[in-house]
Amino acid sequence: MAYPMILAALADPTRRRIYETLVERPRNVSELADGLPVSRPAVSQHLRVLRDAGLVTEHRDGTRRIHRADPAGLAELRAYVERMWTDALADFAAAAEEAPPTPRSTDHADS
């Protein structure tokens, strides 16, 4: 479920800062922690949430791990909404055309 995971990941102000910082350029954990009032372990935790949501990817550069923002992650938010409404309206049209002629004029009419 990309949409809720992305919203959850970005609901946290520190994670948003981290994500935005990585949009500027890729960085390692130390660089991220230096620019934020949080510890390196905390930065690592936040990075894990961002990775799980598909917003950040991790690369090895020798012994260093470099974290990079993946713009496709945010594009998925839009794509998810498009898909959700396409599915929902198709489901509605199908259900509405199968429903009995007079939908719930009273509560017991459709049971």
Binding site: M1, Y3, P4, L7, A8, L10, A11, P13, R16, R17, Y19, E20, V23, E24, P71, L74, A75, L77, R78, V81, E82, M84, W85, T86, D87, A88, L89, A90, D91, F92, A93, A94, A95, A96, E97, A99, P101, T102, P103, R104, D110
Partner: protein, 160 residues
């Protein structure tokens, strides 16, 4: 990254349309009064998103008035709002705020218009908009730290 403008540009809304072979009043009633009989709750619900099968969405109640809630009821009795009705004009139109998640964050807005195409056909036009509410300077986002301003810019550029 450019600095986000306080007057953020409008992001193109998500728009969808469908034609249903039913009269307008019936379509509006089915859409709102019995939303949970057709909505894909198993895929798109707070329960499905949040509890991964441990709790199911059982019902969605649309309180039919301005200020009314659109409320998901789950199998453990929990109720969680998807949004609030902002316009209620049966059988032609309604508007609701939209934040179907337990997470903090801004709401977007969804409008449904129902247009009669004769006695037994109705066109539904959906517009999911208000992505600019994620931008800075929106009073609804008070206390929301630096806000979603730069993310919003990214979203604008990606939405295309």
């Amino acid at each position: 990254m450019p600095i986000p403008d306080q007057t953020a540009p409008a992001v193109e809304p998500v728009r969808k349309s469908v034609v249903v072979r039913r009269p307008q009043a019936e379509v509006f009633a089915l859409f709102t009064d019995r939303l949970d009989t057709w909505w894909p709750l198993a895929i798109h619900s707070i329960a499905a998103d949040t509890f991964e099968g441990r709790v199911q969405a059982e019902a969605v109640i649309v309180e039919p008035r301005v200020g009314g809630r659109v409320l998901e009821r789950m199998s453990d009795g929990t109720e969680a709002p998807w949004g609030t009705i902002r316009a209620w004009e049966p059988p032609a139109r309604f508007v609701m705020s939209w934040k179907p998640t337990l997470e903090e964050g801004p709401s977007t807005e969804v409008e449904l218009r129902f247009t009669s195409l004769g006695t037994d056909r109705t066109r539904i036009d959906l517009e999911h908009r208000g992505w600019e509410l994620l931008a800075p300077g929106d009073p609804r986002r008070d206390g929301y730290d630096e806000g979603w301003g730069r993310l919003f810019e990214l979203f604008v550029s990606l939405a295309g």
